[in-house]
């Protein structure tokens, strides 16, 4: 009796299963062209039991998950390890994605055992193009299930394919499924039950499997195989064309685009505000609660003032990040993201970037961390890297408390353009523009130098519009918040503890010292000669050191140093700064914060997304250098009195 009686043409051996070492994991790789629904299937099979990382040393994302199997049918493997490979059209190693795919399939990828079986997923509404990949994959002679995805689309649009016939042509089982709707996914499980029990054997394909470098001949082969399986291509997607006539309309299109962008902006700033305020209040109250519970001690100070408030300062951004990813998820899954990229492309091309960089860069106005994670939608590696490298220049929300404090303390609110637009608003706008200009100038610099040699042209596939599913949106939100909390949270926790130690040691008569005498104060004094030309003193030096945890931490630190309330609205702190800093130093501090990469979370996420320390190191050095030079010039210019 066949294990997979539902999937057409499944070749089942009667031979006894090969010897299995009980502890050995059964590894199944999912392979398919871009936009074939690979990730949707992967999410279907693994659910929450998945981990997203990078393949070692490259920027290619590695997603590994576990599919729970029916114990009765697969006694040796209650779980199957699934590896989601990057989307490729062929196995010729011309891109990083194709190289990674080849290495994994050949068992040459460190940390990933050679797959025991393959799931080849193809979009059956476009079989002529997608079937090309079947020849090199089936030639690997691994047990392979050919999955024809988008079965619902094929049927609704009047297409047809004879799966039994296709299976006998290819010598591999074929399953017609809809990964998004979950139709037919049980056939995939049945296939994996068969391979993990060792009961699946290979049938020789009826057709020849050519491994050709000649694409027209590969296409001809795919066409012939499709014809043999009575393949009838579906009618064009009528709803997609109707929607495109609105979304890509010469006038309505850009208007809708602007409304979408404004909606995203509004939501991540205004919509997230009550949630962020609520979370902030919750963290504060609970911190006070812990304070009351514990006797006063140095440990309580570390726990409440250090860890609780420090980690809280990062977690506060979570609502904003979740809303942002909800938006990006809807845009991507519905197919609108490709249209938005098309509309934005001309503008972005002027800066050496492309349309798909637009949404991540807009997101960076909230926080660079989710923006950098959102660059995964950019397939072109160099464009993606360029976008990652410039994203931290965009004025993120963590810079605002610093800007507000310094501007309110040093810039008189004289009317600039009528009563509604004063000097202070002008200064804030100026800082936003400064960050944006630095970003595009850096993009141009990168694309004309180290990231230049990319010759791959801009190619953007326009997927049909689809309803986003709650399941896929939910899984993405959970995954992204896990990444944010784990990466940002753990790094921040470490930095906070180190900073607390620096600020509270060495003990003086068993008591924490004045901050000027602490290790942090010593560092502040030590760096003073270096930052003096910028108009900063040792107190600002301590602030700069502490702001590496997160930019807005400097406000609290300065509060501690000057014995004032450490908020950006604190009049006492403004007064103290006015009497301690020169105007040149103050404006220089604003410029420094506009450019410097004072954010451990961003550094951590860049390391993660680029697969190593090289790019975050380059980025940190470049941004710090730029910040230093520009702050130096600013201080000199303001001191020279040109503007007074």
């Amino acid at each position: 009796m066949s294990e997979c009686h539902d999937c057409a043409g499944c070749a089942v051996a009667v031979a006894p299963p090969p010897l299995h070492n009980g502890a050995r994991t059964h590894v199944v790789a999912i392979i398919g062209p871009p936009n074939s629904g690979k990730s949707t299937l992967f999410n279907r099979l693994t659910g929450l039991r998945q981990k997203v990382a990078n393949f070692p040393g490259v920027t290619v994302e590695q997603r590994v998950g576990k599919a729970k199997m029916n114990k009765a049918k697969t006694p040796h493997h209650s779980e199957v390890v699934l590896v989601d490979l990057p989307g490729v059209y062929s196995l010729s190693p011309r891109s990083e994605d194709e190289q990674v795919t080849r290495d994994v399939l050949a068992g040459n990828m460190a940390g990933i055992p050679k797959p025991d079986a393959l799931l080849l997923i193809l979009d059956c509404t476009n079989l002529g193009r997608h079937l090309v990949l079947a020849a090199p994959i089936l030639s690997l002679k691994l047990p392979t299930l050919v999955i024809l995805n988008m079965a619902d689309d094929l049927k609704n649009r009047g297409g047809y394919v004879d799966t039994a016939e296709l299976a006998s042509e290819l010598g591999s089982p074929v399953a017609l499924i809809s990964a998004a709707k979950g139709q037919g996914v049980e056939k995939v499980f049945q296939f994996m039950e068969g391979t993990s029990a060792g009961t699946t054997s290979l049938a020789p394909p009826r057709v020849e499997l050519p491994i050709l470098q000649d694409i027209p001949r590969c296409r001809q082969w795919a066409h012939d195989v499709g014809t043999g399986a009575a393949y009838r291509a579906p009618a064009p997607p009528i709803w997609t064309r109707r929607l495109d006539s609105v979304f890509l309309h010469p006038i309505a299109g850009p208007l809708i685009f602007l409304m979408v962008v404004a909606g995203v902006f509004q939501t991540i700033f205004k919509g997230a505000k009550p949630l962020m305020d609520g979370l902030q209040a919750l963290i504060q109250t609970s911190g006070q609660g812990i304070e009351h519970l514990l006797p006063p001690s140095i440990f309580r100070s570390l726990l409440v003032d250090g860890i609780w408030s420090g980690v809280g300062a990062v977690i506060v951004f979570l609502p904003q990040i979740l809303l942002l990813f909800l938006f990006i998820g809807i845009l991507e899954d519905s197919g609108y993201l490709a249209r938005a990229a098309l509309i934005a492309d001309r503008t972005m091309a002027k800066f050496g970037l492309q349309g798909k960089s637009f949404i991540p860069l807009i997101s960076a106005y909230a926080c660079a961390v989710p923006a950098i994670m959102a660059t995964r939608t950019i397939e072109n590696k160099r464009d993606r890297l360029a976008t990652i490298l410039i994203a931290p220049f965009m004025t993120c929300s963590a810079r605002l408390p610093v800007y507000t404090l310094i501007i309110a303390a040093f810039i008189a609110d004289r009317p600039l353009l009528g009563h509604f637009f004063g000097m202070q608003a002008g200064a804030l706008l100026g800082l936003y523009i400064l960050g944006f200009v630095a970003a595009i100038a850096t993009a141009r610099l990168l694309k004309s130098s180290i990231l230049k040699s990319e010759r791959v042209p801009f190619v953007l596939e326009m997927p049909p519009y689809r309803w986003p599913t709650l399941r896929s949106l939910g899984l993405r939100l959970i995954d992204r918040s896990k990444v944010f909390l784990r990466r940002a949270g753990t790094v921040i926790l470490l930095v906070i503890v180190v900073l607390w130690v620096l600020e509270n040691l060495p003990l003086k008569n068993g008591q924490p010292p004045e901050i000027g005498d602490s290790f942090a104060g010593m560092i502040g004094h030590a760096v003073e000669p270096a930052i003096k030309p910028l108009g900063f003193n040792w107190k600002i030096g301590i602030g700069l050191v502490s702001s590496i945890a997160a930019r807005e931490v400097i406000v609290g630190t300065l509060g501690t140093i000057y014995h004032k309330e450490g908020t950006s609205e604190s009049e006492g702190l403004r007064q103290a700064l006015r009497s301690d800093l020169t105007p040149g130093g103050a404006v220089a501090l604003l410029v420094f914060f506009a450019f410097a990469m004072q954010c451990m979370s961003t550094i951590a996420v860049v390391r993660r997304e680029t697969g190593g320390w090289k790019w975050p190191a380059v980025q940190f050095a470049y941004m710090t250098f730029l910040a230093y030079i520009c702050a130096l010039i600013t201080n000199e210019v303001v001191r020279s009195g040109i503007f007074t």
């Binding site: 490709a338 042209p457 801009f458 953007l460 326009m462």
Partner: protein
């Protein structure tokens, strides 16, 4: 620069009176691709997406500025920038050897 000229043989229109590029094709009008005047690796990338010599390509909507433009090719829609589309040479439609 290598010219990808597959299946063109005798049918190939010389770079003369009849040769048009994909960028010049008006929206909604079908054109038959003759060759890709692009470096080998880029030409292969586009061919994998369906821009194959002998295949029919129909320009669809474009971005508001007219660039990039969406092309219907091989049952799917792919957007290309003008700089790329202008390197895809069409078969001369008036050339009787094609029809």
């Amino acid at each position: 620069m290598l010219q990808m000229s597959v299946n063109s043989g005798a049918n190939a229109a010389p770079n003369g009176a009849f040769a048009r590029t994909l960028a010049q094709l008006p929206e909604g009008e079908a054109g038959v691709l003759d060759r890709l005047d692009l470096p080998d690796d880029i030409a292969r990338r586009l061919m994998e997406l369906g821009f194959l010599p002998g295949h029919i390509i129909v320009p669809a909507r474009s971005a508001p500025t007219g660039d990039p433009r969406v092309y219907r090719v091989d049952g799917s829609e792919v957007a290309l920038r003008r700089e790329t589309a202008s390197r895809l040479i069409l078969r001369a439609s008036k050339d009787p050897s094609v029809l």
